[in-house]
């Protein structure tokens, strides 16, 4: 039985981890009712993407552009978190709750 795939860490492994993280993120976003938890899910998505970029960059043609994008993503994630939290605060002020399933104002 060949267990090389366990020892020889390659691009597939990274991508697999990334897919798992991304899927977890999606699941969190769809399943969680708390807005802050959803925000966390979004962070997971960003991180999965980030991991992809880095992995492709590492196993790619040697160019370091992927690394750079990863840095950008981290920055954007931070900014996004700030903005999202601010929105959540506003939402809380308005509705006195942050359970997104109970807020259906967009329907109107």
């Amino acid at each position: 039985m060949n267990f090389n795939w366990l020892t020889d860490i390659g691009l597939t492994h990274y991508l697999t981890v990334s897919v798992v993280i991304f899927s977890l993120g999606i699941a969190v976003i769809l399943a969680k009712r708390n807005a802050i938890a959803i925000l966390m899910g979004i962070e997971l998505l960003l991180n999965a993407a980030c991991l992809n970029f880095v992995a492709f960059s590492h196993f790619g043609n040697g160019a370091q552009s992927g690394q750079v994008v990863a840095v950008f993503i981290i920055v954007i994630a931070a900014a996004e978190a700030a903005v999202a939290l601010a929105i959540i605060v506003c939402v809380y002020r308005m509705f006195n709750l942050i359970a997104v399933d109970q807020i259906a104002k967009m329907k109107e």
């Binding site: 999606i26 976003i29 769809l30 959803i38 997104v100 399933d101 807020i103 259906a104 104002k105 967009m106 329907k107 109107e108």
Partner: protein, 746 residues
């Protein structure tokens, strides 16, 4: 425009204007506007009398005396060109005959208007009655003033319509409605023949103008034209057209066998009866025969021979038969108006005898005198009816003490119609009978001499009966003892509006032939002497003005219509239109001289005999003997049933019409209605199918589109939850889907 034409136009159109105003807004006027038609006709009367005076005042010439005829025509229809030119003009034509008729019509009409003010007082639709009288007068005036046959026909029909309106004036009475219909339909039969006659005349002469028609007869346009009725039987077209055209007068002037409407026309108000019987309706037929006399006579007329025409013989025989038939029926009638009605039929028969035997001048003179005494008789009868509210003579009797004015005027008129010497009716009737006897003498050596003698025999017998039944009215109504005491007590003399016309008319019944002519003939003779034309002046005043010569000479036949102007005809053409002296005229003159004295004596004898027998039967010694139950029972029954003529019509014409109507009704009901119903059924079915297609097909598609859209909307609105997570899940699914599709494609 000529003054005479202008005056005639005013006479003609005043009653029309009065009618139009009266029928529309008459009821708003004071006294419901009765003064309006009355004054219109009154002015017409004054103008007619002016024309009459002018006519009498002219100097006689070799062609007779009177007005120079005038004619004015206005274009009415002009179409086509060349031989196919249709040129119909409305024209007014005035000659002596017209003037005499104008006087008769306006005078009687005016008096009837005045009388109606009293008689119809308080009746329903009083204003309408006067409007109809006005229209009636207008129609009759138009008839006598028209210059061509077509307009005569138009006014002829208008007269028929007016008689319909007035006979059926009491619209709530079924009998009046039936009588009006009977009058109209019976007249229609005659009018059909008249119309065909006119059409034949137009076909041959190319014109309906009197002078052109006469010219066509004179210039031989009718020669060698025959019509084949059946194989072997053919008559000349002129005779055929003449007989057809005579059907018109037969209907209007109530000649056998179309006389049945006139007695029924008594259903109308009494003034209308007077108007119809004296001046307007029945006079139209006699007028037309007089006016068209040269046409009925044929080419012989222009040789002065009025005695050989088959058409005229037919007219004389029909007239004679009508005279004796109606006179005998009148004897058995008990309704005072019915007696007078049959008396009119009988007198019209006399006029037709006159026309037929060649003396249309005396026929028209009889019309002239008859108008006065018959109007007086009718108005007198109306006065009696008004007083005792019954038309049956069995309710009357002894009224002379209660109603002296009515009695005396009625008596004078009765004497006039019975032929008592020196009253107007005597002269006119005697003139006709003399000519009838002369006619019989003239044809004395013909193998069928008896046929030619019939008009005189009929006439003289009818004269006897006339005296008999007219005095029967006098005895039964005004003499003897009252048969109904109650009604007698309430009888009273009529007031002024009704009495005045009676007096005027009875005065005219005396003077119109006896005294007036004495003066006029004297004057005419002295005038003629001055004009060195004494030979042309007849002993009798009326004949000076109305004579065959005058009829043709006076026609503007010397002119024809060329390029919108009257142009003289050539001398050769004009020559045809002069009556030449001939052997026939001389022979007839001889016969006439022979016939004069016997007729005079016979007339006086039969009149006295009639009056005497009448006195004997109804007032004198035979009064108590009930003749009608005894020896004369069978004949009386025939008379009461009007010789079964009405019965015969009822059983044949009317029954056949009903039968035909029933067959048509059956056909209509079963065949036509079936087809219509079937067609309806098919349409309904088709519509049903079309409706279903429309409902389910077209509407279904439209509604389905709506429903689908609605459903889709209802479904898709559920996506719009408002919850962020749903949106995210949806977008994700779509991304996955897009990627999946993309992968498949790549």
């Amino acid at each position: 425009m000529d003054t005479t034409i202008l005056i005639s136009s005013i006479i003609l159109f005043l009653p029309l204007v009065a009618f139009i105003v009266q029928i529309h807004i008459g009821r708003f006027f004071k006294r419901e506007g009765d003064w309006l038609p009355t004054s219109a006709v009154g002015i017409g009367l004054l103008l007619s009398l002016y024309l009459f005076a002018t006519m009498l005042g002219t100097h006689p010439t070799e062609h007779g005396a009177g007005l120079k005829p005038v004619m004015q025509e206005w274009e009415w229809i002009r179409a086509g060109s060349g031989l196919g030119l249709l040129d119909i003009r409305f024209g007014i034509y005035v000659d002596n005959l017209t003037v005499v008729m104008l006087v008769v019509v306006t005078l009687v009409s005016f008096l009837v208007h005045v009388y109606s003010m009293g008689y119809m007082h308080g009746e329903e639709r009083y204003n309408r009655f006067f409007a109809y009288l006005g229209l009636f007068t207008f129609s009759m005036l138009g008839l006598v003033l028209s210059s061509n046959l077509l307009f005569v026909y138009i006014f002829w029909e208008l007269v028929g319509v007016c008689s319909y309106l007035l006979i059926g004036f009491y619209i709530h009475k079924d009998s009046a409605a039936a009588a009006a219909k009977k009058a109209f339909i019976t007249n229609r039969v005659g009018d059909l023949g008249f119309l065909i006659g006119i059409l034949i005349t137009v076909g041959v002469a190319g014109s309906t103008m009197f002078s052109d028609v006469f010219a066509s007869v004179a210039t031989g346009m009718w020669d060698n034209k025959t019509i084949h009725l059946t194989s072997g039987l053919s008559v000349s077209l002129l005779t055929f057209a003449g007989l057809l055209m005579f059907m018109g007068p037969m209907g209007k002037s109530a000649q056998f066998p179309l006389h049945v409407w006139l007695p029924d026309a008594m259903e109308g108000p009494t003034p209308v009866s007077a108007l119809i019987h004296a001046a307007t309706m029945v006079a139209a037929g006699v007028y037309l025969v007089g006016r068209m006399f040269p046409f009925f006579t044929g080419p012989g007329f222009f040789q002065g021979n009025f005695f050989d025409s088959p058409v005229l013989l037919s007219i004389a025989l029909i007239g004679g038969f009508t005279a004796i038939m109606a006179a005998t029926i009148a004897v058995a009638q008990t309704d005072i108006k019915k007696v007078l009605a049959y008396s009119t039929v009988s007198q019209l028969g006399f006029m037709m005898i006159g026309c037929g035997v060649g003396t249309f001048a005396f026929a028209l003179f009889h019309l002239f005198t008859h108008a006065f005494f018959k109007a007086c008789l009718f108005l007198g009868a109306g006065s009696v009816i008004h007083a005792i509210h019954s038309q049956e003579m069995c309710d009357m009797g002894g009224l002379r003490k209660k109603m002296p004015v009515t009695y005396w005027t009625f008596l004078i008129s009765t004497c006039a119609i019975a032929g008592v010497p020196f009253l107007s009716g005597f002269y006119s009737k005697e003139g006709i009978l003399t000519q009838a006897l002369a006619y019989a003498f003239y044809h004395g050596h013909s193998p069928q001499w008896f046929v030619y003698a019939l008009p005189f025999i009929f006439g003289i017998c009818a004269a006897a009966f006339t005296a008999f039944y007219m005095f029967r009215i006098i005895w039964l109504t005004f003499h003897g003892h009252p048969r109904d005491e109650h009604k007698y007590e309430h009888a009273h003399e009529s007031h002024f509006a009704m009495a005045m016309p009676l007096v005027v008319l009875s005065f005219l019944a005396i003077v119109s032939a006896g005294i007036l002519p004495g003066i006029l003939t004297g004057k005419a003779k002295s005038d003629a002497h001055e004009a060195k034309a004494a030979h042309a002046v007849s002993e009798f005043w009326f004949v000076n003005y109305i004579s065959p010569a005058a009829l043709v000479e006076s026609m503007p036949a010397g002119y024809e219509w060329v390029g919108g102007k009257l142009q003289p005809r050539t001398a050769k053409e004009q020559n045809f239109l002069k009556i030449q002296e001939s052997k026939a005229v001389a022979e007839m003159h001889h016969c006439h001289t022979q016939a004069h004295l016997p007729t005079l004596l016979a007339s006086i004898f039969v009149a006295s005999l009639g009056i005497f027998l009448s006195w004997l039967c109804f007032l004198g010694p035979w009064h108590s003997k009930n003749l009608v139950r005894g020896p004369l029972k069978a004949y009386h029954k025939v008379l009461v049933n009007l010789y079964y003529i009405d019965w015969f019509y009822l059983k044949t014409v009317v029954a056949l019409t009903y039968l035909a109507s029933k067959i048509c009704g059956w056909f209509d009901h079963t065949v036509v209605d079936f087809l219509v119903n079937m067609w309806g059924w098919i349409t309904v079915r088709t519509s049903d199918v079309a409706g279903k297609v429309d409902y389910y097909g077209v509407d279904g598609t439209v509604r389905m589109t709506g429903a689908v859209t609605l459903k889709l909307g209802q479904k898709s609105v559920k996506i719009q939850t408002g919850r962020v997570q749903d949106y995210i899940a949806l977008s994700l699914m779509l991304v996955v889907l897009v990627l999946f599709v993309f992968m498949l494609l790549v």
